[in-house]
Amino acid sequence: MRVTLLLAFAILLGGCASMTPPQPWEKGDLARPAMQFDYDKLETRAQQHIYTSKEAATGGYGVGGGGCGCN
Protein backbone atom coordinates (compact mmCIF):
# COMPACT_ATOMS: atom_id res chain seq x y z
CA MET A 1 0.00 0.00 0.00
CA ARG A 2 2.68 2.43 1.09
CA VAL A 3 4.81 1.56 -1.91
CA THR A 4 1.96 2.18 -4.34
CA LEU A 5 1.23 5.50 -2.67
CA LEU A 6 4.87 6.53 -2.92
CA LEU A 7 4.96 5.44 -6.52
CA ALA A 8 1.83 7.44 -7.26
CA PHE A 9 3.40 10.53 -5.72
CA ALA A 10 6.59 9.99 -7.66
CA ILE A 11 4.65 9.80 -10.90
CA LEU A 12 2.65 12.90 -9.98
CA LEU A 13 5.87 14.74 -9.22
CA GLY A 14 7.26 13.73 -12.59
CA GLY A 15 4.44 15.65 -14.18
CA CYS A 16 5.93 18.86 -12.81
CA ALA A 17 9.13 18.29 -14.77
CA SER A 18 7.34 18.49 -18.06
CA MET A 19 5.97 21.96 -17.31
CA THR A 20 7.66 24.71 -19.23
CA PRO A 21 7.88 28.21 -17.80
CA PRO A 22 5.70 30.79 -19.55
CA GLN A 23 7.29 32.78 -22.33
CA PRO A 24 7.72 36.54 -21.79
CA TRP A 25 4.67 37.29 -23.94
CA GLU A 26 2.53 34.80 -22.00
CA LYS A 27 2.84 36.50 -18.63
CA GLY A 28 -0.39 38.48 -18.77
CA ASP A 29 -1.96 36.57 -15.90
CA LEU A 30 1.20 36.76 -13.81
CA ALA A 31 1.28 40.53 -14.25
CA ARG A 32 -2.18 40.99 -12.71
CA PRO A 33 -2.22 42.97 -9.45
CA ALA A 34 -3.68 39.99 -7.58
CA MET A 35 -0.60 37.95 -8.51
CA GLN A 36 1.85 40.34 -6.88
CA PHE A 37 3.58 39.57 -3.60
CA ASP A 38 3.22 43.20 -2.61
CA TYR A 39 -0.32 43.92 -3.65
CA ASP A 40 -0.51 47.05 -1.53
CA LYS A 41 2.83 48.85 -1.72
CA LEU A 42 2.10 51.12 1.24
CA GLU A 43 1.02 48.25 3.46
CA THR A 44 4.06 46.21 2.48
CA ARG A 45 6.28 49.11 3.41
CA ALA A 46 4.60 49.53 6.79
CA GLN A 47 4.89 45.81 7.45
CA GLN A 48 8.54 45.81 6.48
CA HIS A 49 9.17 48.73 8.79
CA ILE A 50 7.57 46.95 11.74
CA TYR A 51 9.35 43.70 10.94
CA THR A 52 12.71 45.43 10.66
CA SER A 53 12.34 47.14 14.01
CA LYS A 54 10.99 44.06 15.84
CA GLU A 55 13.34 41.47 14.39
CA ALA A 56 16.40 43.59 13.76
CA ALA A 57 16.59 41.92 10.36
CA THR A 58 15.74 43.03 6.89
CA GLY A 59 15.71 41.91 3.29
CA GLY A 60 15.28 38.51 1.69
CA TYR A 61 12.03 39.22 -0.05
CA GLY A 62 13.19 38.61 -3.55
CA VAL A 63 12.74 40.97 -6.39
CA GLY A 64 9.62 43.07 -6.65
CA GLY A 65 8.01 44.04 -9.91
CA GLY A 66 5.64 42.84 -12.54
CA GLY A 67 5.63 39.41 -14.05
CA CYS A 68 6.37 40.76 -17.47
CA GLY A 69 10.13 40.38 -17.18
CA CYS A 70 10.67 43.96 -18.17
CA ASN A 71 11.03 46.16 -15.14
Binding site: G15, S18, T20, P24, E26, G28, G66, C68, G69, C70
Partner: protein
Protein backbone atom coordinates in the same frame (compact mmCIF):
# COMPACT_ATOMS: atom_id res chain seq x y z
CA UNK B 1 0.88 15.42 -18.60
CA UNK B 2 -0.09 19.07 -18.87
CA UNK B 3 2.86 20.20 -20.83
CA UNK B 4 2.62 22.94 -23.40
CA UNK B 5 4.81 22.74 -26.43
CA UNK B 6 6.97 25.81 -26.72
CA UNK B 7 9.05 26.62 -29.72
CA UNK B 8 12.77 26.92 -29.06
CA UNK B 9 13.19 30.66 -28.96
CA UNK B 10 16.24 31.68 -30.94
CA UNK B 11 16.65 35.37 -30.37
CA UNK B 12 16.93 37.57 -33.43
CA UNK B 13 19.95 39.79 -32.98
CA UNK B 14 21.25 42.88 -34.72
CA UNK B 15 22.73 42.04 -38.11
CA UNK B 16 20.37 39.17 -38.81
CA UNK B 17 17.50 39.23 -41.28
CA UNK B 18 14.17 39.85 -39.58
CA UNK B 19 11.79 36.87 -39.44
CA UNK B 20 8.62 37.13 -41.49
CA UNK B 21 5.54 38.73 -40.05
CA UNK B 22 1.98 38.49 -41.37
CA UNK B 23 -0.68 39.54 -38.87
CA UNK B 24 -4.13 41.08 -39.07
CA UNK B 25 -4.89 44.58 -37.85
CA UNK B 26 -8.12 45.68 -36.15
CA UNK B 27 -10.01 45.71 -39.46
CA UNK B 28 -8.69 42.32 -40.50
CA UNK B 29 -6.32 43.43 -43.23
CA UNK B 30 -3.00 41.64 -43.01
CA UNK B 31 0.18 43.60 -42.43
CA UNK B 32 3.36 41.89 -43.60
CA UNK B 33 7.00 42.87 -43.32
CA UNK B 34 7.56 41.89 -46.95
CA UNK B 35 5.19 44.63 -48.06
CA UNK B 36 7.17 47.14 -45.99
CA UNK B 37 10.50 46.20 -47.60
CA UNK B 38 12.24 49.38 -48.70
CA UNK B 39 11.02 51.23 -45.65
CA UNK B 40 12.67 51.52 -42.27
CA UNK B 41 10.52 49.39 -39.98
CA UNK B 42 10.13 49.53 -36.22
CA UNK B 43 8.44 46.39 -34.89
CA UNK B 44 7.30 46.62 -31.28
CA UNK B 45 5.95 43.70 -29.27
CA UNK B 46 3.62 44.93 -26.55
CA UNK B 47 0.84 43.86 -24.21
CA UNK B 48 -1.81 45.71 -22.23
CA UNK B 49 -0.45 44.30 -18.96
CA UNK B 50 3.06 45.56 -19.57
CA UNK B 51 3.82 48.79 -17.71
CA UNK B 52 6.65 50.15 -19.87
CA UNK B 53 4.54 49.54 -23.00
CA UNK B 54 2.23 52.26 -21.72
CA UNK B 55 5.12 54.71 -21.87
CA UNK B 56 6.26 53.53 -25.28
CA UNK B 57 3.06 54.47 -27.12
CA UNK B 58 3.40 58.27 -26.86
CA UNK B 59 6.99 57.94 -28.08
CA UNK B 60 5.99 55.74 -31.02
CA UNK B 61 3.23 58.21 -31.91
CA UNK B 62 5.83 60.96 -31.90
CA UNK B 63 8.16 58.95 -34.13
CA UNK B 64 5.31 58.17 -36.51
CA UNK B 65 4.41 61.84 -36.71
CA UNK B 66 8.03 62.93 -37.26
CA UNK B 67 9.26 60.23 -39.64
CA UNK B 68 6.16 58.45 -40.96
CA UNK B 69 6.17 60.41 -44.17
CA UNK B 70 9.94 60.10 -44.51
CA UNK B 71 9.77 56.30 -44.76
CA UNK B 72 9.46 54.96 -41.22
CA UNK B 73 6.83 52.28 -40.67
CA UNK B 74 5.92 51.38 -37.12
CA UNK B 75 4.18 48.05 -36.53
CA UNK B 76 3.03 47.34 -33.00
CA UNK B 77 2.35 43.65 -32.38
CA UNK B 78 -0.09 43.02 -29.55
CA UNK B 79 0.38 39.70 -27.75
CA UNK B 80 -2.59 39.87 -25.37
CA UNK B 81 -4.54 36.65 -24.94
CA UNK B 82 -7.77 38.62 -24.70
CA UNK B 83 -8.45 41.06 -27.46
CA UNK B 84 -10.68 43.15 -25.16
CA UNK B 85 -7.65 43.98 -22.98
CA UNK B 86 -5.78 45.32 -25.98
CA UNK B 87 -8.81 47.34 -27.11
CA UNK B 88 -9.10 48.91 -23.66
CA UNK B 89 -5.44 49.89 -23.75
CA UNK B 90 -5.81 51.36 -27.23
CA UNK B 91 -8.87 53.34 -26.16
CA UNK B 92 -6.73 54.99 -23.48
CA UNK B 93 -3.64 55.35 -25.64
CA UNK B 94 -4.67 55.64 -29.27
CA UNK B 95 -2.00 54.63 -31.76
CA UNK B 96 -1.35 56.59 -34.94
CA UNK B 97 0.55 53.63 -36.43
CA UNK B 98 -0.62 50.12 -37.45
CA UNK B 99 -1.38 47.77 -34.56
CA UNK B 100 -1.61 44.07 -35.36
CA UNK B 101 -2.80 41.23 -33.16
CA UNK B 102 -1.08 37.93 -32.40
CA UNK B 103 -3.03 36.12 -29.71
CA UNK B 104 -1.29 32.83 -30.47
CA UNK B 105 2.14 34.36 -29.88
CA UNK B 106 3.78 32.86 -32.94
CA UNK B 107 5.53 36.06 -33.99
CA UNK B 108 7.22 36.83 -30.65
CA UNK B 109 8.37 33.19 -30.68
CA UNK B 110 9.79 33.65 -34.19
CA UNK B 111 11.62 36.80 -33.14
CA UNK B 112 12.73 35.21 -29.87
CA UNK B 113 11.37 37.97 -27.67
CA UNK B 114 13.07 37.83 -24.27
CA UNK B 115 11.01 40.39 -22.39
CA UNK B 116 8.16 42.83 -22.79
CA UNK B 117 8.32 45.17 -24.54
CA UNK B 118 10.92 44.30 -27.17
CA UNK B 119 11.40 46.36 -30.32
CA UNK B 120 13.29 45.70 -33.51
CA UNK B 121 14.57 48.42 -35.79
CA UNK B 122 14.79 46.94 -39.28
CA UNK B 123 16.52 48.57 -42.25
CA UNK B 124 15.17 48.90 -45.79
CA UNK B 125 16.70 45.57 -46.82
CA UNK B 126 14.98 43.70 -44.00
CA UNK B 127 17.93 43.30 -41.65
CA UNK B 128 17.62 43.92 -37.93
CA UNK B 129 19.76 46.88 -36.89
CA UNK B 130 18.78 47.43 -33.27
CA UNK B 131 17.12 45.13 -30.74
CA UNK B 132 15.68 47.18 -27.90
CA UNK B 133 14.63 45.22 -24.80
CA UNK B 134 12.39 47.10 -22.44
CA UNK B 135 11.50 50.76 -22.74
CA UNK B 136 14.14 53.08 -21.34
CA UNK B 137 13.71 56.83 -21.60
CA UNK B 138 17.49 57.22 -21.66
CA UNK B 139 17.97 55.33 -24.91
CA UNK B 140 15.29 57.21 -26.86
CA UNK B 141 17.65 59.87 -28.21
CA UNK B 142 20.10 57.30 -29.53
CA UNK B 143 17.31 55.26 -31.09
CA UNK B 144 15.93 58.32 -32.83
CA UNK B 145 19.40 59.04 -34.22
CA UNK B 146 19.56 55.47 -35.57
CA UNK B 147 16.15 55.89 -37.21
CA UNK B 148 17.29 59.18 -38.78
CA UNK B 149 20.52 57.62 -40.03
CA UNK B 150 18.69 54.63 -41.54
CA UNK B 151 16.19 56.91 -43.25
CA UNK B 152 19.03 59.00 -44.66
CA UNK B 153 20.96 56.00 -46.00
CA UNK B 154 17.90 54.29 -47.41
Amino acid sequence: MMCSASAPALATDAGQPAPGLALPDARGSVVTLDKLRGQVVYVDFWASWCGPCRRSFPWMNEMQQKYGEKGLAIVAVNVDKKRADADKFLAQLPASFPVVFDEAGTSPAAFGVKGMPTSYLIDARGNVVVVERGFLEGSRGELEERIKALLASR
